[in-house]
């Protein structure tokens, strides 16, 4: 007899109304005293303030206007506010590292306001380039899509990043790198299909 372990619950699409449950204010509901994911880095968190703007496009080139994007990141020193990162006590109290942004219901654009993360330790202490982890759900997406966002002004760190190095052909690495526009502004588009399809991760 094979060993029996419980299997992961299968995924189902978040549907078009994911905001009702996860960002009720966007659905016009004021139900919960505290909304999760509204502030990634509070005003007192030390670090370089950055803004990332972009669009999510489907396979027909149409903007995806009902997407929920979750952001997870380390602080400017590369530390996660989580017990599995043993340095977590050093993280500023106003830093949650977690954000929820939705694409605009009319235009499909999104905007992430945060502080730039530091370099994060990888496996075997091999450094990873500064990055955000992104996780996306929407109608028509059966299993949440995970990817990363790296920064275009970190060319040296990106060239040494162990995850980016796995991407073959190398030309697809650009799909994970946000373009630096100066003054802490970045642009980053996500494409679900097509010639410039974003690299999605099977972690």
């Amino acid at each position: 007899m094979p060993l029996e372990y419980p299997k992961e619950s299968p995924s189902q699409t978040a549907g078009p109304f994911v905001h009702i449950g996860t960002v009720p204010s966007l659905a016009g509901l004021s139900l919960h005293p505290i909304a999760f994911g509204q502030t990634i880095a509070g005003p007192d968190v030390v670090g370089d303030r950055i803004v990332i703007e972009g669009h999510v496009y489907d396979g027909m080139g149409a903007p995806v206007r009902d997407m929920l994007i979750e952001v997870w990141q380390a602080d400017p020193n590369g530390i996660y506010p989580h017990p599995a990162d043993t340095r977590h006590a050093e993280v500023d109290s106003g830093f949650t590292g977690f954000g929820r942004v939705a694409t605009d219901f009319d235009t499909g654009s999104f905007r992430i306001e945060t502080v730039k993360p530091g370099s994060v330790p990888g496996r075997h202490d091999r450094p990873q380039a500064p990055h955000l982890s992104l996780w996306m759900v929407a109608r028509g997406i059966n299993v949440g899509l995970q990817t990363r966002l790296y920064f275009g002004d970190e060319a040296e760190a990106n060239a040494a990043d162990p995850l980016l190095a796995l991407i073959d052909p190398a030309t697809r690495r650009d799909t994970l790198i946000a373009r630096a526009e100066g003054d802490g502004r970045y642009t980053f588009d996500i494409r679900l299909q097509g010639p410039k399809e974003t690299v999605f991760l099977d972690v």
């Binding site: 419980p6 189902q12 994911v18 449950g21 059966n142 949440g144 991760l201 099977d202």
Partner: protein, 238 residues
Amino acid sequence: MSWDYYQRDRRWHPPALTPDYKTSVARSPRLPLLSVESSLSEITGPTFSHTSLGDLDNDLIHNYTGEAAIGERTIVHGHVMDENGRPVRGALLEVWQANAGGRYRHVKDGYLAPLDPNFGGCGRCLTDDEGGYVFRTVKPGAYPFRNSANSWRMAHIHFSIFGAGLAQRLITQMYFEGDPLRAQDPIAQTIPDAAALDRLVAPLDLNASIPLDSLAYRFDIVLRGSRQTLFENKMEGA
């Protein structure tokens, strides 16, 4: 540090491209996913606290106006565990659903069933030390949606679950035992294996029902397990 999550069995989950659920056609990646080993970026994730929850957050019958919502009064309870059967403590569950008539409180929902003035349709709770959770609501109605001309969603509650790390992140749906629409619901049918879909069907739990008040359903959720099995005496995350 080594704290890997088990590989996700993608044959057990719905594939990205499921043409009978038409919206997936233009929204499914066509290139292979990049397989990577988990790092600190994946084994960590946001954490949530009871102090951030309100008293009525897990009571969808009353949390919108304080007056009772209309419908079959329903208790949903269960446990969140990992693939080793260990409880997942402090997991955040967020739920959302249509009202008893099958309509969401959302500007984009134009279904002709009435809105219930006392039903908002969302709630949340955290699991306790044994991984247990409970909330109460009204049973959602079935509703039609624009897929094929005559596509209907079976009654369902949407679940968003945060475990301990980003790699455990899951959104899924709970269905009710004995629903006659199961075999034709195009979204339930994106799951290829009938045994996998069974796992999303909550059985009626008469023992947990409250006489003359509410019916109960039991819905257990399994998140991904991690390999940290041989060293249980280690500090969490050490």
